[in-house]
Each structure stands twice: as C-alpha cells, then as structure tokens.
Chain length 373, copies 2
C-alpha cells in the first residue's frame, strides 16, 4: 500500500556544511547523503533489484526520455508504475530527459515552447513540453519527478548559458502547473554553467517557487573538475536547507565526498555501473582495471577490504578470465562490487557526519591520486 505521508527531509546531524538525515518518501525512507544507482531503462544494468538493495542503495534513478520511447509511459502506468514494473520496492527518481536531449546534438531543436527531437530508436519525431514531461513522469509513477531543463555543454558560450537559465526558470514555472500524482515530489534544476554568480541568480529565481527539492544540473558535462567544485562550494550551501539537494550526474567517490562536504544530499552517476562493464572496479584508494595482465594469477578479491558478494567469493584471476572471455557474469560481479563500494562510501560518510569527523574521513578516503592501482 502507498503511504501518502508528506515527502520530506529530516536532518538529524550536521558537521560543517555536511549534513545527514532521512528523506521520507511514499515508497520508503532514504538515509542521506545517498547515492542512487542509475537504472536508465527501468533496470540497473547487469544487476537485479536484490543486488541493488544489498549494495546499500535505497533509491534508484530511471530516465523519462528512454522510458517514454520504450516501452512507453502508458505501458509502465498499466504495469503499476516504474518501481513495480522493475521489481524495485523503494523510491524511484525519474530524470526529466533534459540531459539526454542535450546529448542528441544535431537531432534536437529547442524553443521556448519545448523540445522537438528524433527518437534514437526509430528516428520518429517527438515533441515534448515542460508540462508534458511532468505528465509523463506522472504516468511513470516515479516518487520524485524532475522538471525539464535546458542543459548546455560545459563549453557553451555565456549567452547560451544565460538563455538556458532563463528558459529553465520559465519551464520550471510551467512544470508546477502540470498534473502530477498525489504525493509525487517535483524537483527544480539549477543551471548556470560554471559561473557561481549566474548559478546563484538562477537559484534566486527558483527557490521562491517552492519545489520539493533542488538539483544542480549541467555539471560533469565537460567542464574542468575545479570549476565544478567551485560551483558546488559556492551554491550547495545556499540551496534551501529544509529541502533535499541533489547534484545530478556526479561522480567519482572523490567528487561525491567533496560535494557532501558542502551539503549535497543526493547523487546519481553511471560511473560505478558503466565502468564495471568496462572492467574497472573502484577499490579503497583507487581503481583496478581487471583486464590488466598483472591480475592474471592474482588470488586476491577485487578489494580485500570489501565484503560484497563478489569480493567474498571470487578472485581477481577468475574475474579477469571472465572479462577476457566476454562472460556476462564479469559485468554483473564488477557492478555488484562497484555499487557496494559506493553504498559503503555513503554509509561511512553518514556515520562520519553523525560522529562530527567528516573532514578527517574525507581526507582519509579521498584517493591519493586518480592513478590506477
């Protein structure tokens, strides 16, 4: 049964700007800060819902753009909503598709009214408005919906960034008037590129509109890492304190710890799942590329400090063999490990904030360098 208690964040402890608490939703509680595994097409790639849960995740992301094209939002509605459809019994956040549309490049036309693009599946011409994107997310039945935004690239010209900000504000206003489900939360997205002043201006426009949460979009899209860190440091602490703060599409474990230190509550990123499928494992202190010949005879687990089902049972030499042989099981086991690495990182971050030792924890857990082990 759906619990229709109000969506909201309770902060239980803070340490500097970092904060920990619980995000209460219709489909269960999410201890924050939290990492949401990416399940673009209503499946977290290569793993099943039990493995997602066991990794420490309590909320997942699915993508509106992909699901509206296949299998179609009305099919998902008839199947009981995206969570039930995919066998995930926790909350689901649906990304609005702004980022995917931006990724389509030549195949998209953006106007003040909305977006027209060609489907990547069959080339069909599809047209969406900010209102329609909210309605689609209502059909998908996600726990948290995102407004449609315009997401310029990390190297966009200032006038393009300014236009994206203006449009995203107007679209956010229109989104609030669209029909959504009882209790379904709606988050706004703050754009503004790498200019902290423009970001704060945008925030100033969006904050009074009273969204259920605020996201930083348009980061990790090609800009230098210090620029991204600069925006997060300047803007995250100014996001409404009583609402969840979500940094979209970020990032590495180091990026996440940096953003948590400035008060971000929610994250999503394809890194742990995508890199797993490319043979790369996140381990304490760095990364392991299981393809490398040095692991051919290595009897250690991927990460000796990890207690995930992959590390408890399988050796690097076997994982390398699976990867080299093209076995699907390699993708799954590395994904299980990487999601557990992220889930454990978030659990330890929450614990460190509660114990008021987050700065020391962050220093200890940040990689000495991005070099591979």
């Amino acid at each position: 049964m759906i619990d229709i208690r109000r969506f909201g964040l309770s902060i239980s402890a803070a340490d500097g700007e970092a904060r920990t608490g619980v995000l209460r939703t219709q489909r269960g509680d999410v201890p924050t800060p939290a990492f949401m595994p990416v399940g673009t097409r209503a499946a977290v790639k290569a793993v099943d819902p039990d493995e997602v849960r066991t990794s420490g995740a309590s909320m997942v992301l699915a993508n509106t753009y992909h699901l509206m094209l296949r299998p179609g939002e009305e099919l998902v509605r008839r199947a009981g909503g995206v969570g039930r459809f995919m066998g995930w019994d926790g909350p689901v956040l649906t990304d609005s598709g702004g980022y995917q549309v931006y990724s389509l490049g030549e195949r998209v036309r953006i106007t003040d009214e909305g977006v027209v693009f060609s489907s990547h599946i069959d080339g069909a011409r599809v047209s969406v408005t900010p209102e329609r994107v909210v309605e689609i997310q209502a059909a998908l039945g996600s726990t948290v919906a995102m407004v449609l935004d315009e997401c310029p690239s990390g190297t966009a010209a200032p006038e393009d960034v300014a236009r994206a900000v203006r449009r995203t504000t107007e679209w956010a206003r229109r989104s609030l008037r669209a029909r959504r489900n009882e209790g379904q939360a709606l988050f706004a997205i703050i754009q503004g590129g790498v200019d902290p002043a423009l970001r704060l201006t945008h925030l100033g426009e969006l904050a009074p509109l009273g969204f259920d949460g605020y996201a930083l979009g348009g980061l990790s899209v090609g800009e230098p890492v210090p620029a991204m860190y600069g925006v997060v440091a300047a803007v995250a602490p100014c996001l409404p304190a009583d609402k969840p703060r979500y940094l979209m599409g970020v990032g590495t474990p180091d990026d996440i710890l940096e953003a948590v230190s400035h008060g971000i509550d929610l994250f999503d990123c394809v890194l742990p799942t995508r890199n797993a499928r490319n043979g790369q494992a996140f381990v304490r202190g760095g990364r392991v590329n299981i393809k490398q010949a040095r692991y051919a005879e290595d009897p250690s687990p991927l990460d000796p400090s990890c207690a995930c089902p992959c590390c408890r049972r399988f050796e690097r030499r076997y994982l390398r063999h699976l990867y080299q042989s093209g076995e699907i099981l390699a993708a799954r086991l590395l994904t299980v490990h990487n999601l557990t690495h992220y889930g454990t990182l978030m659990a330890k971050a929450r614990e460190a904030i509660r114990a008021r030792r987050f700065a020391a924890f962050k220093k200890e857990w940040t990689s000495p360098s991005q070099d591979l082990l």
Copy 2:
C-alpha cells in the same frame, strides 16, 4: 576436503529401461537422471553458481578445449581446479574438446596420432594427443574427464564414420594409460553415426576396457531427430548397466525424456542457456519467444507453473522490455528460468521413475508439438 571414496553409480529404482539413482563423486552426489548446465569457459553463461544450484543442477560441464586456450590449464590448476576457480562447489565434467575440434572445420587436421588445429583466439597452432587431453583435464581438476574422440558430422560418409570409430577406440585405449588425478573418473565416447549396428560394434570394443562411464557422442550434430532417437533406443539399454550413461549435447526437454526412457543418466546441452540469451524460454507445453509483440502488455510470469526467481518476481511485459532494450538482466532472468525448467523436468522424471509411472509422465510432459506458444 576431497572425499576420495570411489566414484560410482547406485541405481535405486527402474521403470522399464528408465532408471534413477545417485552418482557419487569426490565433489558431491548427483541424483540421476541429471542435466548438466554448460559452463564452457568455467562459467554458466549469464548466471552465478548459486543460481545454477538453485535451478536444481548438481553437476556442471566445462570445456577442455576452451580452458586450455584461455586461461590455460596450469592457471586453473594453480587456482585449485575448475570447480574452485569458478566458485562451484559440486562436481564438474570436462568435455574433451573432440566436438569443438570438429566444429573448427578447415582449421583442423586429424591424424591417428592426434589433432593439430589453429586456436580460435589467436590463430596459434596447437597440437594435442589423446594422452595430452587427459593430462590437461588432470590439470583442470575436473571430477569426470572425457576421452578425446573423433566426432564426424551428422551427414558424414560411412567410411568417415568407420574411421572415426576405429580412431576413437584406439584413442580411448591410449587415454587409459595417461596420468590423471587420484579418483578422477574417465568416460569413453561411443561414435558410429546413425548406424545402430556400428554403434553397438563400437560399444563392444570400448565396454571391455573398463571406463568409469560411457557416453554417446556424435549425436545432435545435424542428423534427423528420428535417427538420433533410433540410435539411443538401440544402444542406450546396452551400455554397461552399472556405469553412468551420458548422452552428449542433447537436447530439448522432449529429447531428454525420450533418452531417459531408454536408460540414459546424464545430459548436457546449451539449449536452455543459449536460447535464453536469444529471448526464448522453455515453458510447460512449449516455448515463449519473449521478443514477440503479443507479450508487450502481458502481466503473467514467463511460466505460470514455475516457481523460479524469475517467474516469482517478473512479468512477461517487463522481461520483453528488458530484452528489447538489450539489458543483460534479460539474459540472466531467462537463463535462470530455463535452467529451472530443465532442473524441474529432471526432478520430476526421477520422481516418476521411482513411482513407476515414467511412461505416463513422459506422455504428459512431452510437447504436443514444437510450435511456439
């Protein structure tokens, strides 16, 4: 610890020519008749060892040809043998590679001495003898090793079949003199194409040599199904009654029930795993091709009569979406189901033999036709 009690079959009940019992091995007992999932490269494709076990399987097959080329038998030996390497705590049978060599076609040269071929991985010239193939399987540490055989195609000329029989006998003799592990069983392979008389002649040559088990090879290689059934009906009941009887590479659920009715104990086949990856599920009474549009809105489980983890949790409409979207999870869930379908079939066959109602069971479970549902 390895239990070095003697390898052997105990028959506990028979019904006509069908029989049920237990094959005792160093790495655990196998209730027979049994289906062995195929783990060619030391992994049953798309599933993990727990899923293999839960499907009802208690023994798996791995392939000598593939493992000698990658990761190499000495690496597997250092990793503790193929079972430990792949995290499978039950017995493993290694196929000798005769069938794979035959599949190489132009890239192989077979002489009385042995086989020379080019590796499918890097083109390297590899030469093996019957003795060497047994030694490789000793390094792999399999529970049951198979002799190297010559496996002609289903449409081979009579003189080619006769030569394969002669060679396979000589190779079987030489295999017995090769060094293998303490307690490691060795099975002979009977060739002879679709000529029951030649098959019985070959059996007459091999039976006195005292192998630990006897396999029918060279079937399901392109010959008509009735011809295969004819050989099984004529030869299976004549295989040594106190040894395990293994029908290699067979087959559909109907094929298996037919062969069980003539006294076969062991089976392996890629059908449940390969077809799963192609979107085809075996269900009671037929098959489901999950790609088909008719399943797009179907809220039923793959097989309403099945209690596997896939059928308990996921609907056809979601499985079809996963398959259409190219999600790895589709391959895994269909594989879990198909292996459970086979595992359940074998469990029910054993039960029916014990209850002396195998003929009725076979009639009830054999597909009305091979048409898809």
